[in-house]
């Protein structure tokens, strides 16, 4: 009896060994083997914590697929645009209303009378505050890829990454001029837009700012298309913008400071009105690796709203001192 037990155990062990060998030969995949060609990006993503003056105070899931655009109205209501719809939330993330449409909204801004302007691929659509389609503007160019819209009381500025220009319309959709169009005769180099990240914002004095992402600059233009000023430096360091197409998005604070979001090294920073780095809002550790398309908005309380399309969240950051 004892012999049988021993033989049984031995056979069992043998089967275990055979099983292990089968797994090792045919099923296992080597993990953690050193890569002699490893390209470690982690060092690039570290930043000085002393610069980090913001913290995440709130986040909520808007309940839309493929969220790409965020805007805030003067009352602090948060508008989020995505696939097939727009949702409106109060400043605490409570859903107020929503409306649907067919298609993908890549960007959103608010126009006159609470109208909602959406960049729908190659054209702009305007909806009333209640979600009724009011206008559908014709694509200005067969190559159009609308990535951002900004509006003043008089004009609507539409960034077209496909044509690499900013269009100036009035609120009825009448096109006035193209800003930043390449013009070799007049030595205007045009915008360098290697990928569909091309943001526009209105400054505190109503001036137009454009992210020339291929040159890593923010540029200010007059309404007639004259370049007024620019700032920005290409660098992997925290002071600069790295890689292709950054800053991918930006927003402007009440004091004229710039909030910028980057891809590649995923981070959100604040620059002074003159383009000097003031502080970091969010570091790469706070985002999933490979996150792109962090649209930004600033609410009347000065809170920074970051639309995170990978986590599918609206993430709200506040200054640490203010929170205390």
């Amino acid at each position: 009896m004892k012999q049988r037990i021993i033989i049984g155990i031995a056979l069992l062990l043998l089967l275990v060994v055979i099983g292990f060998m089968v797994w090792d030969f045919f099923l296992s995949r080597p993990e953690g083997a050193a890569n002699p060609y490893a390209y470690d990006l982690s060092e690039l993503k570290k930043s000085d914590t002393a610069l980090n003056r913001y913290e995440e105070a709130l986040q909520f899931t808007p309940g839309l697929e493929e969220i790409h655009g965020i805007a805030v109205d003067p009352a602090g209501r948060i508008f989020v645009a995505g696939k097939n719809g727009v949702k409106v939330f109060d400043d605490s993330g409570k859903l107020l209303r929503k409306f649907k449409f067919d298609g993908y909204a890549d960007c959103i801004t608010l126009g006159l009378f609470g109208n909602i302007l959406l960049g729908m691929g190659d054209h702009v659509e305007i909806y009333s505050a209640e979600g009724k389609l009011l206008e559908k503007w014709k694509p200005a160019n067969s190559e159009s890829v609308i990535t951002s819209i900004a509006a003043t009381g008089l004009f609507v500025f539409v960034a077209d990454a496909g044509a690499k220009v900013v269009y100036r319309y009035d609120h009825s959709g009448k096109l006035f001029n193209r800003i930043g169009e390449k013009d070799p005769e007049n030595r205007i180099p045009g915008f360098i837009i290697p990928s569909p990240y091309f943001d526009v914002c209105i400054g505190k004095k109503g001036e137009l700012w454009v992210a020339n992402t291929g040159r890593h600059e923010l540029e200010q233009f007059s309404p007639d298309g004259r370049l007024v000023t620019s700032w920005g430096v290409a660098s992997m360091a925290i002071e600069g913008f790295a890689g292709c197409c950054n800053p991918s998005h930006f927003a402007i604070l009440a004091d004229g400071s710039f909030v910028t979001a980057e891809k590649g090294i995923e981070r959100v920073k604040i620059y002074s009105p003159g383009g000097v780095l003031k502080c970091v809002v969010a570091t790469p550790e706070q985002f999933e690796e490979g996150t792109k398309g962090l649209d930004l908005a600033v609410d009347p309380k000065g809170r920074l709203l970051v639309l995170d399309p990978v986590r599918n969240q609206v993430r709200i950051f506040v200054e640490k001192l203010k929170k205390k």
Partner: protein, 218 residues
């Protein structure tokens, strides 16, 4: 009391029994799957070249390829291919790329002088060539004999750029081994058999960026 001789005999018999059981199980499994009696998968079957079974014919009409969407640039394409240098090469999807001067797949991070000096380049074998077009545009091309398929540039391009540099098996070089040694070690299972008539899996701008839109190029 079991003596040593009996024990060894029992052990050998037991091993043979276990082996036979496994073999029988494999044969039963294979025969149920498609009538093959060899007990091998097509990829490792020594008779697959002359086999007339439908499964083997389909296998012969396919080739190995890696899916750039699954690739994690682990470096094994450079080290595990039976070819030297590897049959996996970097490909450049021109339709995607703006040919930026600051190409993250071309330059090492924090390079101050954006020149073609070897110490500034990310590629360990200087396989990426660039030609000035106009400020800030450069056209990039891959010197295939120099490329070892390490994927370093692919990682840089994906992290900082458009992801227009992608690894693919070059079918002018691939031996289409029955059992691809890179596929076996690929940690992300990016390798698969694809139809020989459509042997490349290069991706362009994905829907994750702009749904239903064409590409933009600089």
């Amino acid at each position: 009391m079991l003596n040593r001789r009996d024990f060894i005999q029992t052990l050998v018999r037991g091993s043979i029994l276990a082996g036979l059981t496994l073999l029988t199980g494999a044969l039963v499994y294979r025969s149920r799957k498609g009538g093959c009696e060899s007990g091998f998968a097509c990829g490792s079957c020594p008779k697959s070249d002359g086999c007339n079974l439908a499964e083997a014919k389909a296998f012969r009409q396919t080739v190995w390829q890696l899916d750039p969407a699954k690739c994690i640039q682990c470096g094994r394409c450079a080290t595990n291919c039976v070819m030297s240098p590897s049959a996996v090469k970097c490909f450049h999807v021109y339709a995607m790329c703006g040919y930026c001067d600051l190409c993250g797949g071309y330059f090492k991070p924090e390079t101050k002088d954006l020149t073609t000096a070897a110490e500034h380049q990310l590629c360990p074998t200087n396989a990426i060539k660039r030609k000035f077009v106009e400020d800030p545009f450069f056209e990039y091309s891959i010197d295939k004999p120099l490329c070892i398929g390490c994927g370093k540039c692919v990682k840089g391009c994906g992290a900082f750029g458009n992801g227009s540099l992608q690894l693919q098996i070059d079918h002018h070089l691939c031996q289409n081994c029955n059992e691809c040694s890179i596929a076996r070690s690929c940690p992300s299972e990016a390798f698969s058999r694809v139809p020989a008539g459509k042997p490349y899996l290069l991706k362009s701008f994905g829907k994750e960026l702009l749904p239903d839109k064409k590409t933009t190029s600089g």
